[in-house]
């Protein structure tokens, strides 16, 4: 075994030592960090030429897992893209369609150059000829910050890898990588059949690296401070810090940077839960529910959460307070998810609508028969039958809700209303958008 040493460890007094790493450079006022300030800590990224094995190896040794939701090893993705024959493209995925996540928007607004450096370094690693930064079309603040940052780099650092901003359609599935690539190629922002996957054939038919905003910000820090530094936080299997967006019944909602593997209860204590906890949604609307007891023992890692029914997802955590009706919350979210279907696959279009409708009816005391059994049967019919994983995520959300809120559902199915009334909605459900798909 070789001892892991970095090719050029640049650790110095500026290497953040606590768990506040990415956000160490962010201005508390929320202002965007200018390029000059950013460059006091981070050097200008090298221009991409051929594949930089050293950069890939450093990211691999750091053990960084993607922060978009799936938790795929970033180093392995870089290697797969670099192995293609044509010159690759790097896509920064800043679409963040998840309603209870705000971390990517925060990074884009406050630390755009950290993200863009990460993208430039990923481009250098795989030898890419172009970087495309995709941001939700409706997120004006993030768009403006990135636009300004790109202009600054263009003026002050000409000769860097070409970067352009792409304002993506505001749909949940836009962030799915095949959908994003399809849209960048002139199509609708809807998932396509895979394979070929984007790393094989993506934007313009080229090998394409699609990485989440937070993932790339970590790449910038790993290259700057080294793989060993990165591993000083987190767990051996899941090193580093994560950005967790905390919402729901908490005193201080917001984005928290914590070490991966931290007990969920510590994060919640930091955010404050004055109304108590009846359940916690982990991973956003693509995630799953934990009851109060599981939430008390869960850790913020894929390793701990997967056996409990899901993963860490994008790190979004939503707290349902004591007394709130889980069925009412789940019904609203399912209704929203059903409306976010790309409308391409029958089981997704009809199945999610059926799940949402039945759950809504149960909540309103309008259902007959064994509601839970019917929902479970449909869930089994829908799973694995879409072109993408969107319906599977909705099914996972539903199943965990049936599990955690079984008592609430029985009460509703028997025709009784919510325990607390009037119901105060906890989980935010954005209006379903009639926005274009291009």
């Amino acid at each position: 075994m070789t001892v892991a040493t970095d090719p050029a460890p640049l650790t110095g007094p500026s290497a953040p030592s606590g768990s506040r790493r990415l956000l160490a450079g962010s201005d508390p006022s929320g202002a965007s960090q200018p390029l000059a300030g950013h460059r006091r800590t981070y050097p200008v990224p090298p221009h991409p030429r051929r594949v930089r094995e050293d950069l890939i190896a450093t990211v691999e040794r750091a053990g960084l897992l993607g922060r978009g939701g799936a938790g795929f090893p970033t180093g392995r993705k870089l290697r797969a893209v670099a192995a293609g024959r044509r010159r690759p493209v790097v896509v920064v995925n800043g679409t963040e369609g998840e309603p209870v996540s705000g971390k990517d928007a925060l990074l884009l607004r406050t630390l755009p150059h950290l993200v863009l450096d990460g993208a430039a370094l990923a481009a250098a690693a795989v030898g890419a000829g172009e970087v495309v930064v995709c941001v939700d079309r409706q997120n004006a603040a993030a768009l403006a910050a990135v636009e300004r940052a790109l202009a600054e780099r263009h003026d002050r650092e000409p000769g860097g890898v070409p970067m352009r901003l792409a304002a993506a359609p505001p749909h949940y599935v836009t962030g799915e990588e095949s959908a994003l690539v399809h849209w960048l190629n002139g199509g609708e922002a809807k998932p396509t059949r895979v394979p070929p996957r984007p790393f094989e054939r993506g934007v313009g038919g080229r090998p394409t690296l699609v990485d989440n905003v937070e993932t790339l910000a970590h790449v910038a820090q790993i290259i700057r401070f080294g793989a060993d530094w990165f591993r000083r936080r987190g767990t051996p299997a899941e090193p580093g810090t994560i950005l967790a967006t905390v919402t729901g019944a908490v005193s201080r909602p917001g984005v928290y940077e914590v070490s991966a593997g931290l007990p969920l209860s510590h994060l919640l204590a930091g955010a404050g839960t004055p109304e108590g906890i009846s359940a916690v949604l982990v991973g956003g609307y693509f995630g799953f529910w934990l009851d109060a007891r599981s939430a008390g023992s869960a850790l913020l890692s894929h390793q701990d959460l997967r056996p409990r029914g899901g993963g860490l997802g994008c790190g979004a955590v939503a707290v349902l307070p004591t007394g709130a009706c889980g069925v009412a919350e789940a019904a609203r979210v399912m209704g929203w998810l059903a409306g976010e279907t790309a409308g391409q696959c029958g089981p997704c279009v009809h199945g999610l609508a059926a799940l949402a409708g039945t759950l809504g009816d149960a909540c309103a005391g309008r259902s007959r028969g064994d509601v839970a059994a019917r929902l479970q049967r449909w869930a089994a019919q829908i799973e694995g039958r879409g072109a993408c994983r969107f319906p599977d995520g909705a099914v996972r959300f539903l199943r965990s809700a049936l599990d955690v809120f079984a008592d609430d559902l029985r009460r509703h199915a028997a025709g009784r209303p919510c325990r607390t009334s009037p119901q105060r909605p906890i989980l935010p459900v954005p209006p379903t958008k009639e926005a274009p798909w291009r």
Binding site: G346, P347, C348, G351, W378, Q381, R385, A387
Partner: protein, 76 residues
């Protein structure tokens, strides 16, 4: 090892016409909304012949036969 096949559906192309379940009940059932649920076991003999006919009969051209090589069969 002889090449074997299984039937696969392109869920985006599929319009839920449902003729496939009539022609190949050995491998295809319909869900509650009329879309095919495919049994992915390999096809042979008479069933393979029916499967070929089913693939051509799909009005949306959403079905195809996929080779199940030795490696693919082991991987699954």
């Amino acid at each position: 090892m002889a090449v074997t096949y299984r039937i696969v559906v392109d869920p985006i192309a599929c319009t839920g016409h449902g003729v496939c379940a009539d022609l190949l009940p050995e491998r295809i059932a319909l869900d509650d909304w009329g879309y095919p649920i495919i049994d992915k076991r390999p096809l042979d003999g008479e069933v393979l012949r029916h499967a070929r006919r089913t693939v051509t009969a799909c009005p949306a051209l959403a079905l195809r036969l996929e080779e199940v090589g030795r490696d693919a069969a082991n991987a699954r």
